[in-house]
């Protein structure tokens, strides 16, 4: 288990919860035209794809500020294979975990 400070985990939990809820409430309380600018909508629809891509990179190929290639990359390769084979989400995650754990224990 990673050891991180309680102050860090609680502040992340509270900060994320407050901001994510505020964002959800916005559409119910502000006039529609505020968020209907086409440029804002275009950028907003692209945000999940770029953030998720960056999160995959951060989780699979980095350690602190270093780019690394380790057991997690093998796990991710298994996930790609499962996705290409149109496997359901739990199979994708389990395939990655099993492959990564095998490489980690053999390594």
């Amino acid at each position: 288990m990673a050891t991180v400070s309680g102050v860090l985990t609680w502040s992340v939990l509270i900060g994320t919860s407050v901001l994510c809820y505020a964002i959800k409430v916005v559409g119910y309380v502000v006039p529609a035209r505020w968020l209907s600018h086409p440029r804002l909508q275009r950028i907003n629809t692209l945000i999940p794809a770029v953030l998720l891509s960056a999160l995959v990179v951060a989780q699979a190929f980095t350690h602190q500020t270093h780019v690394v290639l380790d057991h997690r990359a093998a796990g991710l390769a298994a996930a790609v294979a499962a996705l290409v084979a149109r496997a359901p989400f739990p199979v994708v995650v389990i395939a990655a975990a099993v492959t990564s754990a095998l490489v980690y224990r053999l390594g």
């Binding site: 992340v12 891509s53 989780q59 270093h66 224990r105």
Partner: protein, 217 residues
């Protein structure tokens, strides 16, 4: 309530709820307690953002980076609430409950019932939102307890399960050549920034790619 609405809502609620196992495990592996992990699913209740918050912490990022990454990932919920507000016409406290349940699944199942009328849209939204909430929280607890009893996350592949979960969320979005190109640019961009920026911030910086790509139609 039509059978189609019930079928759509329950199948989505159970399937998506099962992702909660992956979140629960990822959160505990990142160093959050079982209580904090459960509170994430109860209070934050927007899956990709929850994964992002614990993911940045797991990567050694600062708390602020985790909060910003999670919030940016949830900005689409503002557009969902904008779409749902005139359809739900919720008043008083129901409006704030509707906001809490405004996520990818409830919005999309709700809007998918449009052919059957406004009542079906509302039923689809509320049923899916409530169903995902119940299953997401139950499965989060299962994943959190499971990870807690396993110990070293790497020995069980939990550290690879998290990027795999992100990839699973990303994959269905890569439907056009343009999105695939933008995702590839974001990958290269964040890899290039990793050695020069503090941990966690390359994730936030990747938003620049979305701003540049979306600036012009």
């Amino acid at each position: 309530m039509s059978r189609r609405t019930i079928r759509d809502a329950t199948s989505v609620a159970v399937t998506v709820g099962a992702y909660g196992v992956a979140f629960g495990a990822a959160s505990v592996a990142a160093g959050f307690s079982v209580l904090q992990t459960s509170l994430f699913s109860l209070v934050t209740f927007t899956g990709a953002s929850q994964f992002a918050a614990v993911g940045v912490v797991a990567a050694g990022g600062a708390g602020l980076s985790a909060i910003v990454a999670a919030s940016l990932l949830s900005t689409r919920n503002a557009l969902y609430s904008l779409q749902m507000a005139p359809l739900l016409e919720a008043e008083g406290w129901k409006r704030f409950l509707a906001a809490h349940l405004t996520i990818d699944e409830s919005t999309n199942v709700g809007l998918a019932q449009a052919g059957e009328g406004l009542v079906a849209v509302r039923q689809g939204f509320w049923l899916t939102g409530a169903g995902v909430f119940i299953f997401w929280n139950l499965f989060t607890l299962v994943g959190a307890w499971g990870a807690k009893s396993l110990g070293n996350p790497a020995a069980w592949g939990l550290d690879a399960a998290v990027p795999a979960a992100f990839l699973g969320l990303l994959w269905p979005r890569l439907t056009s050549a343009r999105t695939r190109t933008i995702a590839a640019v974001a990958v290269i961009f964040s890899l290039a920034l990793t050695p020069v920026l503090p941990s966690g911030t390359p994730i936030i910086a990747s938003v620049v790619v979305a701003v540049v790509a979306g600036w012009r139609p």
